[in-house]
């Protein structure tokens, strides 16, 4: 059976050769196998293209800049990346005509931090073995772990194995891993807390924020040309926090801003150097939107109106805030 990378290279090679596209966005090798970098490849450079359990980065946001260039680009998108892609197309941030989407198979992506949390140190390289097993070569000897035990948070709650946007697919046809866990479980747990407990939880997490803006910069929904927090003229630009609550507010404001547009791609939590579970803020909004306006998945299509940018007579009344908020 062909490995997925071989299928990808074959299809990409053909599309480059027949002129359908003139470049490919995917991932290239790093130092230690677990650290590939998103990269653009031209014809003749495909040998450096890779795709495996460590290609968790969502490359759809790069298409904003890429589709402003001449020519057409082949984008390698995992199922969850296609939701981000659709949302960017819907918001007219990405020119759909300048992208050829090759939907690529995904069996879940590994989180290097979880591998380290297993006590595996000094990792020189990693091999993927059959049966979703990872053989980790370290300076302290070889170790093994199961991909399933070290999945990224976003993969634990995989929203779909199906691509919602694609011009072609690269699939091996192998059976897919089992259905994921409930993505709202932790949100529900937070909702059950008293306001004080919840406040304490978030203060504990958000107090580690170093305001590096990695969550914002990687977020496909954060596509403003100039973020209000980077704009001196806005009056709220803040590289420094005036008090310790300000950083907390940054994340809450950002979650509001992407509400209804966040596809739950999980990149914010993946890139956070301080391991703050930022995805929980977004999932709270998604859960509320589902409850108030009916099930909605941002990025499932490119044409529907988002629940927060639409109006129906059945919309929930603002007074719901009074009913649900406060001490109860």
């Amino acid at each position: 059976m062909q490995r997925v990378i071989e299928i990808i290279k074959e299809k990409a090679g053909k599309l480059l050769a027949d002129g359908t596209v003139d470049r490919v966005i995917g991932w290239k090798d790093g130092e230690f196998f677990y650290d590939p970098t998103p990269a653009v490849f031209s014809a003749g450079e495909l040998e450096n293209l890779r795709y495996d359990s460590f290609c968790g980065a969502n490359v759809s946001k790069y298409l904003i800049a890429e589709t402003k260039k001449e020519g057409k680009i082949l984008a390698l998108l995992k199922p969850c990346d296609t939701y981000s892609f659709n949302e960017l197309v819907k918001e007219h941030r990405v020119d759909r005509d300048k992208v050829y989407v090759l939907g690529i198979e995904c069996r879940g992506k590994a989180d290097i931090n979880k591998i380290r949390d297993l006590g595996i140190k000094g990792i020189e390289s990693i091999e993927e073995l059959p049966g979703d097993e990872l053989l980790v070569h370290t300076i302290y000897g070889d170790k093994t772990c199961k991909l399933n035990d070290v999945l990224l948070e976003k993969c634990l709650c995989c929203k779909s194995k199906t691509h919602v946007a694609s011009d072609d697919l690269a699939l091996t046809g192998e059976p897919m891993p089992e259905a994921p866990k409930d993505r709202f479980a932790m949100v529900a747990k937070l909702e059950m807390m008293t306001p004080d407990e919840r406040f304490e939880f978030w203060r504990g997490e958000l107090s580690r924020c170093i305001r590096c803006n990695a969550c914002r910069n990687v977020c496909p929904a954060c596509s403003c040309l100039k973020c209000v927090f980077d704009n001196d003229a806005s009056g709220v630009a803040s590289k420094a926090n005036a008090d310790t609550f300000e950083e907390n507010m940054f994340h809450i404001i950002r979650a509001f801003h992407v509400a209804g547009r966040c596809t739950d791609c999980g990149e914010c939590s993946r890139v956070c150097p301080q391991h703050i579970p930022l995805h929980l803020l977004n999932r709270k909004f998604i859960k509320d939107i589902n409850e108030f306006y009916g099930e909605y998945q941002a990025g499932a299509d490119t044409t529907s109106r988002g629940p927060l940018t639409d109006y129906t007579p059945d919309d929930v009344e603002p007074s719901i805030v009074m009913k649900r908020g406060g001490d109860q």
Partner: protein, 342 residues
């Protein structure tokens, strides 16, 4: 040289904390951060590096510089500097300990930065040798010996014993305060441990990283290299690398209108940010390629040019481990350096 049983470290910490704040790596939701010791905190000397570096103890992310008060047409300036109380930082790794020398050259050169200076004078640094280095470590490339980590006091932690060796007057003063808890150190046991961990450091994959081609005179040779475009292609322009870096020292100074006066403060800044070089006439660094290039040229070329050839990287590996897109100084050195093509 002295030693103490590992099981009695709590007593040692309590004694140090009795005469001033003790800052050391503590557990914080699965991460290690420098924090103030109390009997309740979980000390993490087993994890190699804290997320943020020990630089924070001397150069905090934000600090007030001065205040301005308006009364009618009179403006008074309020000096907000307070004398810094003595404190101790424990568990500093060799890389972070070396970073202080790099920061000193910036902040203690004329005109002296008195905010930084007061903390440096008040702080005693107790280092800890690295027994279990990570693949991201490359301090030896910069001449740093993680087996002999420096500082005012150097420590080595084996399975059951902490070895303690004072190296400076400050170290002697601290040793004096804890001396009755310590016993004479077993030189042979320490030597055996040092040899054991030296052998591990020899295995590090980045230990032969060559810096040839990077020096204070390399601006012309490196500045216009076409590879910068590819190296910076995926950079998302966040400040992670700069904020976890023990040697990044750029800051911004801003005024905050409190409503009844002006608070002037400074905060870390990042050359990766779009407004970093914004000035009245515009911005000379318009794309991420230029911002990205600046960071590495500063560390490997500009800083050495102004500081006797010393690089402003200590090889701690934080940026290697933390970059969201896994682009880092090692990849830059390997791509642009003279001798790294296997």
């Amino acid at each position: 040289m002295y030693q103490i049983e590992k099981a009695r470290l709590g007593e040692l910490f309590a004694r140090i904390a009795a005469s001033g704040e003790l800052i050391l790596p503590v557990e914080n939701n699965g991460t290690s951060q420098y924090g103030t010791w109390t009997p309740e905190v979980e000390v993490r000397l087993d994890r190699l590096n804290t997320v943020r570096s020990a630089k924070d103890c001397f150069f905090p992310q934000t600090e007030n510089l001065m205040g301005f008060q308006m009364k009618g047409k009179e403006i008074s300036i309020i000096d907000q500097r307070k004398p810094c109380e003595p404190f101790t930082v424990f568990g500093v790794r060799a890389c972070d300990a070396a970073s202080f020398g790099i920061l000193d050259r910036v902040f203690l050169s004329e005109p002296v930065d008195t905010y930084y200076q007061s903390r440096r004078l008040a702080g005693t640094i107790v280092t800890l040798a690295c027994g279990e280095p990570e693949e991201t470590c490359f301090c030896s490339v910069f001449g740093i010996d993680a087996v002999k980590p420096g500082g005012d006091v150097s420590c080595w932690l084996t399975e059951d014993t902490l070895f303690w060796k004072s190296l400076t007057e400050k170290g002697d003063a601290l040793t004096e305060k804890v001396k009755d808890l310590l016993t004479d150190g077993d030189e042979a046991a320490l030597k055996a441990y040092q040899e054991k961990i030296s052998a591990i450091h020899e295995k590090l994959p980045l230990k032969n990283l060559s810096l040839e081609g990077f020096n204070g005179d390399a601006t012309e040779a490196l500045f216009d290299r076409p590879e910068w475009a590819e190296l910076s292609e995926a950079c998302i322009g966040c400040g992670t690398c700069t904020f976890v870096c023990p040697t990044c020292q750029c800051y911004d100074i801003r005024d905050f209108d409190t409503g009844h006066g002006i608070q002037r403060f400074r905060c870390w800044d990042s050359c990766m940010y779009s407004d970093f070089t914004k000035m009245a006439g515009g911005n000379p660094r318009l794309t991420q390629k230029e911002r990205f290039r600046q960071r590495f040229m500063h560390k490997l070329v500009y800083y050495p040019a102004n500081n006797d050839g010393i690089y402003s990287c200590v090889g701690c590996g934080r940026c290697v481990a933390k970059c969201p897109i896994s682009m880092n100084i090692v990849k830059v050195i390997k791509t642009l350096g003279v001798k790294n093509h296997e």
